[in-house]
């Protein structure tokens, strides 16, 4: 009795099972069934990620407060937990100010257009086994293709405001994002090579050692769902750090927050936006953050896989084993861990100068990403005893060589040419 109960009970498949049950119940009406399927894969995203946004703003303010030896928000609710709700209400009640000279059309549409790509890219994130909202063969390419729209929106926001600070912020933003996008996309290439597919679900599955997970004792099973992560290979470690740093710049986060540098540019492209338009930009920023963290986890940290309690699922022999902790719990844990590191970095590092920013992207990140692709190719093609030393040597050698080449030769006076 216990055995059969244990065999049919599988927390990892609760949501997938629910979706299957609903579609089966509606199978008499195909149109209704597919509509239900679409709603079940989109509505949770639209509901959960604004919630994550609220939690993230609270975490960021509270965390930064602690880093700076303050308490942080503590007036609304226990531990200031209701602060995001208070902020939201405040944003809704604020007056919506549009500059007289502004381009009214784009000033209105920029915040809305900022939110659209942020949510669209979530469609290819695998939140668990068989839990991808849209199974696309070009998943990673879709992510970057749709994500590249958000750059333009920042420029449009800056340009439509007719404000010097906004314009400068917008120009800085597109210069920065174009530079770091190259490194970001190249850093995402090695896992695609390893999986032989751009489908995000396949990339996650390629990081699970299936034969270890389906058999053996609990130690082997957990090793199989942990050690296969790409971050535990030389190129994967290098690639993950590259991807993480480039994504910080892509998200305009500290220390790459020049577009919104508040001591120089007021708030960059956000200067002339008030009330809920401002809140929409922030929503887009944080949803983008979560999306890119989820992609980093998918590419390098095993996505939804992780240490778990496994037992045979009791269906077919080939079926994946049941797991105690659902996959999306692992994915969200990884995303929030990355958010924590981003807050930590923001509290630690000062802002880069513009020339340092560009030099870092083009002279360091981009060559290292290219060398890392070569390293990954050797690692994938060679047997393990040859792959490890060669890949380690290539990735680390490239890093060391770039460090030597880029070493700063003393600090001289800066030369301004077009200023």
């Amino acid at each position: 009795m216990m055995c059969t109960l244990a065999a049919t009970f599988n927390p990892d498949r609760v949501l997938v099972g629910l979706a299957e049950w609903v579609t089966n119940a509606l199978s008499a009406w195909p149109a209704l069934s597919s509509l239900a399927l679409i709603l079940m894969s989109t509505v949770p995203l639209v509901a959960i990620f604004p919630g994550c946004f609220a939690v993230a703003t609270w975490l960021e303010r509270k965390g930064l407060g602690r880093f700076q030896n303050r308490i942080g928000p503590n007036r609304t609710g226990p531990f200031g937990l209701l602060q995001p709700a208070a902020d939201g209400i405040k944003m809704l009640l604020k007056e919506d100010i549009v500059p007289a000279q502004a381009d009214k059309f784009f000033h209105f549409w920029a915040p809305i257009l900022a939110v659209v790509p942020a949510f669209l890219v979530l469609a290819v994130i695998p939140f668990g086994r068989q839990m991808v909202p849209a199974q696309l063969d070009i998943g990673v390419l879709y992510f970057f293709g749709v994500g590249s729209m958000s750059t333009l929106v920042v420029f449009v926001a800056g340009w439509a405001s007719r404000n010097k600070y906004s314009m400068l912020g917008g120009m800085r933003a597109i210069a920065q994002v174009v530079s770091y996008e190259a490194a970001l996309v190249l850093a995402a290439v090695p896992p695609i090579m390893a999986a032989g597919s751009m489908n995000t679900a396949h990339i996650v599955e390629s990081q699970i050692v299936a034969e270890w997970v389906s058999g053996g004792n609990i130690l082997v099973q957990n090793a199989g769902s942990l050690l296969g992560w790409h971050v535990f290979t030389p190129w994967g470690f290098c690639g993950f750090l590259l991807f993480f740093v480039a994504s910080l710049a892509e998200l305009n986060r500290s220390p790459f927050d020049l577009p919104e540098a508040d001591s120089e540019l007021v708030a960059g492209h956000l200067t002339e936006f008030s009330g809920f338009k401002y809140a929409l930009f922030f929503l887009a920023e944080y949803v983008n953050l979560f999306a890119i963290a989820a992609l980093a986890a998918t590419l390098y940290l095993g996505g939804w896989s992780g240490p778990n309690f496994f037992w045979p699922a009791g269906l077919a022999e080939s079926a994946p084993p049941a797991a105690l902790v659902p996959g999306f719990v692992w994915l969200f844990a990884k995303m929030f861990a990355m958010l924590g590191v981003m807050i930590w970095i923001r509290a630690t590092f000062p802002r880069l100068r513009v020339d340092q920013l560009m030099g870092f992207a083009w002279k360091f990140l981009l060559p290292l990403a290219l060398a890392n692709i070569v390293s990954a190719a050797f690692f994938i093609r060679l047997p393990w005893w040859a792959a490890w030393p060669i890949s380690l040597g290539l990735s680390f050698g490239a890093y060391a060589a770039l460090c030597v080449v880029n070493r700063q030769k003393g600090i001289g006076p800066r030369e301004y040419r077009y200023a």
């Binding site: 070009i138 390419l141 293709g145 333009l152 210069a175 174009v178 751009m198």
Partner: protein, 171 residues
């Protein structure tokens, strides 16, 4: 051809016309972005999903942003309204030549092309074609782009840097 194709093609053509006829440079460029995205949509209706993704990433993400840079670095481009040069005759001649060239190319491709029934990743086939049959074209493109990049670096060098370079070698 499906309804989706006509909707996407109509949007693409409309944005292309808007990009040519709008007087404000930035508005025209943003319409050009919609046009690029529309071309990606046309690729999608032909079940070429990789090309659609690459179109979005390269044209909307990179080429469009570079165009914005070009506009922003042009003096008075934003404040002064752009008016057509009015060279109707030459415009018609160029348009006829270009469109006949495109039509000829497309007709040639149509006789041999096989359109997949469902969207399947064409990455492998593309890679094999680029590293096999069309390797020459790929190499020539690479050389061209490298030459363009070296030219850009030369243009951007500080004045006098080219002349002083040999003296530094002697010293």
């Amino acid at each position: 051809m499906s309804i989706a194709f006509y909707i996407v093609a109509g949007l693409t053509l409309a944005s292309a016309i808007a990009a040519m006829s709008l007087s404000n440079f930035v508005h025209a460029i943003l319409c050009l972005m919609v046009f690029f995205a529309g071309v990606a949509g046309v690729f999608l209706t032909l079940n070429a999903d990789f090309l659609a993704g690459a179109q979005m990433l390269l044209y909307v993400g990179a080429v469009g942003v570079l165009l914005i840079f070009a506009i922003m670095f042009t003096r008075n481009a934003v404040s002064e309204l752009f008016r057509g040069s009015g060279g109707w005759l030459s415009g018609i001649v160029v348009a006829t030549l270009v469109s006949s060239l495109i039509i000829a190319g497309v007709r040639d491709a149509y006789s041999t092309a096989v359109f997949p029934e469902v969207a399947q990743s064409s990455v492998k086939a593309l890679g094999e074609a680029l590293s096999g049959r069309h390797l020459g074209a790929l190499v020539v493109t690479g050389v061209l782009l490298t030459a363009a990049m070296i030219g850009a670096v030369l243009v951007a060098l500080p004045a006098g840097a080219v002349e002083t370079a040999p003296e530094e070698d002697e010293a």
